[in-house]
């Protein structure tokens, strides 16, 4: 068994964490802030990876779970000094009870993680106990993302509507706002922890069974495995992680809007994984980083051409590296000996 471990992905992980850990030393203020945000996306990418890459459940509305965490945190942050401005504008003068409950940031963190986990769990219970699988799961989650965006847009009194909730303070610990470097390393630590968490979980027997479900659902059922329970469990865990990413996103980004949590962001994450390589944490991480950084740099120079290129790359990856760039690399290394 030892022989099979692909040290290459480990090396890549190490290199990635090294680069991320040392990046603030470069002194590039703006890019540090940007990379901080992309690190939050790494958590989101992993949360989708354990769901899609490992268990084979292609969630096309994953940003809903991310958005729930993000909005809980954003509401909490905007309610620090009484009723938020956007609520006042809609004629709400009294702090609603539920908002009072999450005014404490720690409560918001907890709710922001547990609420999406709960939604995912309920949805999992609802869907996976019937024979809903594969494409139908994708269709349902896609429509759910549509519903979620519509909901956010229409309840302006509680969500800030299309404009979202903005002007949020950055990360703070025990009442003290963090400097950029501190906040960067705070997020870095969170990313590292999530990485270790995902790694441990996916290397456990739980991960083995998830891969079994992805490979052959019928077979695993006749080996006595309740696949709906496993799918529900991984969906809930994935929801919690996506929620955590959202919770971090709100203060790091300074704002949250329906645009950040709809179909578009969901499909973007799917593309990161497809190109980077799903079913491996390394692939998800590299895909997320690579596409975001390149997209940020190339969109000015090439405008629509960058999108066009990305479309072509997706098609090419499907044909020539269906296991993603990292999967392809790992295979090449393995074949060489």
């Amino acid at each position: 068994m030892k022989r099979l471990k692909l040290p290459m992905t480990r090396k890549l992980d190490l290199a990635l964490f090294l680069v991320l850990g040392l990046f603030p030393l470069s002194g590039l203020l703006f890019y540090t802030q940007l990379i901080e945000k992309y690190m939050v996306f790494l958590i989101f990418a992993w949360s989708l990876d354990i769901l899609w890459g490992y268990a084979g459940l292609m969630d096309l509305g994953h940003a809903v779970l991310f958005g729930m965490g993000g909005y809980v945190m954003a509401l909490s942050l905007s309610a620090q000094n009484g009723v938020p401005e956007f609520m006042e504008r809609c004629g709400i003068t009294q702090m609603p009870l539920w908002l009072q409950a999450i005014t404490s940031p720690w409560a918001a963190v907890l709710v922001g993680i547990l609420l999406p986990a709960l939604l995912a769990w309920l949805l999992g219970r609802f869907l996976f106990t019937s024979q809903v699988g594969g494409v139908f799961f994708s269709v349902i989650t896609l429509s759910l993302a549509q519903v979620f965006t519509l909901f956010l847009n229409s309840r302006q009194d509680y969500t800030g509507g299309f404009n979202g909730i903005g002007d949020l303070p950055g990360l703070a610990l025990f009442g003290e706002p963090l400097t950029l470097t501190q906040s960067y390393y705070f997020v870095f630590a969170a990313v590292l922890l999530v990485y270790l968490f995902c790694r441990a979980l996916m290397n456990s027997r739980f991960g083995l069974i998830l891969r079994g479900i992805r490979e052959n659902e019928t077979r695993i059922e006749f080996l006595g495995c309740d696949r709906s329970a496993f799918k529900t469990a991984v969906f809930a865990v994935s929801g919690a992680l996506a929620g955590l990413a959202g919770v971090l996103y709100a203060p790091v980004n300074g704002m949250i809007a329906p645009n950040d949590v709809g179909v578009e962001f969901s499909t973007a994450a799917v593309v990161w994984l497809a190109i980077g390589g799903r079913g491996s944490l390394t692939g998800a991480a590299l895909g997320a980083m690579l596409i975001n950084v390149l997209g940020n740099m190339l969109s000015e120079q090439f405008g629509a051409f960058w999108q066009l290129l990305l479309g072509f790359v997706i098609v090419l990856v499907v044909f020539f590296a269906p296991e993603g760039i990292v999967g392809k690399l790992a295979k090449a290394v393995k074949e060489r000996g």
């Binding site: 847009n153 229409s154 299309f162 979202g164 903005g166 002007d167 809007a257 969109s299």
Partner: protein, 387 residues
């Protein structure tokens, strides 16, 4: 195989260095140019409007450079595309300020993008020139607003419509802040003028099916359909409205010459539009501008209030740079804006020193059966902004 991957890595590093580098590259020769950021989306949902804003700003800055620049110095523009995503707008604004070290930014279109950029320019003591009309109710010492706000547009329009068209209004808009604020204000204006609201409807952003809304309009039988629909929804609404053959007149706060081309004359004829600028304004500056626009811009857009917003933004910024004590100091530029006056195709307009909004003319246009907008009303003088 390993060599291959190594070289690939090397290539990508070289590529990214080149890309990181090209933003900060200096173009020597003569005096150092003044850097200005342009922050617009050329992709995504608001790209159609922003293309026009961009064209306007670019045209203004090119003109300034051709006429000798800012006291001999050229303006260098750094463009950033935020793809209609407010969060990215904030990122890009940060990049323009911190990385490219621009003295000011002209840009953003939707209120959500402006609101996302606002804390960025405030905390970095920079300047945003916001070119689009919006719902008002905002002020910032780091933002100059050159588009029209409700007291320069809706208030006049509602008043005029009640007097000249009818008293019963049906309000319709996409479901986000701008239309809701506009419609709420319309209600208060109507209450003052003795008009009434017989219906109010919101459709999801981007929705193109208006059958149920049109039947509600039919049932409530209004005189005026007062719309602040945007984008695809706006186009689809006009088309379906005309197919239903309703008697009520459409009065829009958002339609412009470019959108009109997509709507077509058959569907839009006899409708009213109220903004601060139309292509068919009769004055020499405008005639020159329209001709130049047709010659230089060939992307299917028409001179419109959106183009003019971007253009005015560029002109105002140029004037402020000229007047500023030190055009490289953002604070000096901000200080120079108060009371600034320019001769624009939309008339002689100025910036109000107290609230950093522009004093503008209000104009009402009527669409004829060739799809041209004829100006049928113009305020006697510029209207001072009351945000």
């Amino acid at each position: 195989m390993k060599k291959f991957w190594c070289s690939l890595l090397a290539c990508s590093i070289a590529l990214s260095c080149a890309l990181f580098g090209c933003g900060t590259e200096q173009k020597g020769s003569g005096e150092k140019p003044i850097k200005v950021g342009l922050l617009y989306s050329l992709s995504g949902v608001t790209s159609v409007s922003e293309k026009q804003l961009y064209n306007g700003t670019k045209l203004a800055i090119d003109e300034i450079n051709q006429n000798g620049g800012i006291n001999g110095r050229k303006i260098e523009t750094v463009f950033a595309d935020y793809a209609s995503d407010p969060a990215r707008a904030a990122d890009k604004a940060r990049k323009l300020i911190l990385d490219d070290k621009v003295v000011a930014i002209v840009g953003t279109c939707s209120s959500s993008a402006r609101k996302a950029v606002k804390p960025v320019v405030e905390s970095n003591h920079s300047l945003l020139v916001y070119p689009q009309s919006y719902e008002g109710q905002e002020q910032s010492k780091n933002i100059v607003y050159v588009g029209c706000i409700p007291n320069q547009q809706a208030e006049v329009f509602v008043d005029w419509l009640v007097k000249n068209v009818g008293k019963k209004f049906f309000l319709i808009g996409c479901d986000f802040v701008y239309p809701r604020v506009e419609n709420k204000l319309a209600q208060t204006y109507l209450a003052k003028n003795g008009g009434s609201v017989v219906g109010e409807e919101y459709v999801p952003y981007g929705s193109t099916d208006f059958s149920s809304v049109l039947n509600k309009i039919k049932t409530s039988n209004p005189d005026v359909i007062y719309t602040s629909l945007t984008g695809d929804s706006n186009v689809a609404f006009y088309k379906q409205y005309s197919a239903y053959g309703l008697k009520a007149t459409v009065a829009s706060l958002t339609t412009n010459e470019t959108v009109l081309k997509a709507i077509g004359p058959a569907a839009a004829k006899e409708s009213f539009i109220c903004v601060d600028y139309f292509k068919n304004i009769k004055n020499t500056i405008n005639e020159k501008f329209v001709k130049k626009y047709a010659e230089t811009i060939k992307d299917g857009t028409e001179p419109s209030y959106a183009v003019m917003g971007g253009y005015n933004g560029g002109l105002f910024l140029g004037e402020a740079l000229k007047k500023a004590k030190n055009p490289d100091q953002t604070q000096d530029v901000i200080d120079a804006f108060g009371g600034l006056t320019i001769d624009s195709p939309s008339g002689k307009i100025s910036i109000d020193a107290s609230n950093h909004h522009a004093s503008l003319y209000c104009r009402i246009g009527k669409v004829d059966d060739k799809g041209e907008i004829n100006v049928i009303y113009q305020s006697d003088q510029t209207i001072a902004p009351k945000p």
